[in-house]
Symmetry: C2
Subunit: 83 residues, 2 copies
């Protein structure tokens, strides 16, 4: 079994109102050291063992999980040891 | 300057309708190898150098970024080399 961790973030240059709101809130709470904040999505998939897991993950990111126009995606694939 | 990467996920046992929806969609698209999906938040903060960055990040997660009742958080702190 595989555990896939997917990180989806807005591309540089794309306005991130959610990130701005987080930064403003943190600064208001007294954390002035926070210079910027970007908010994205984090997904964990468990997948059956398959020859081309990486190919499938790429396809899933492009087709469904990320919007290629405004979002970047990155992922890691780990072996899950089933005890 | 520091780059803080924060991963916020629902605790095990907490229902994840968003994750279920992602899994169902992926299975419908033909990716039957996807056995489960969990959706969370991913944040990147840039912060000024500070003696207790880690302490601040813990506080920010508990106070604002994560809901300690239903969410877990994890983070990494990296040095950003400003060229």
């Amino acid at each position: 079994m595989k555990k896939v961790k997917i990180y989806i973030t807005l591309k540089q240059g794309v306005l991130d109102p959610q990130g701005k709101a987080v930064q403003d809130s943190l600064n208001t709470l007294g954390y002035e050291d926070v210079l910027s904040a970007r908010v994205g999505k984090y997904m964990e998939l468990t997948m059956d063992d398959h020859a081309d897991v990486e190919k499938q993950v790429e396809e899933m990111c492009v087709k469904l999980l990320a919007n290629p126009v405004i979002e970047d995606y990155a992922y890691t694939v780990e072996e899950v040891v089933v005890s």
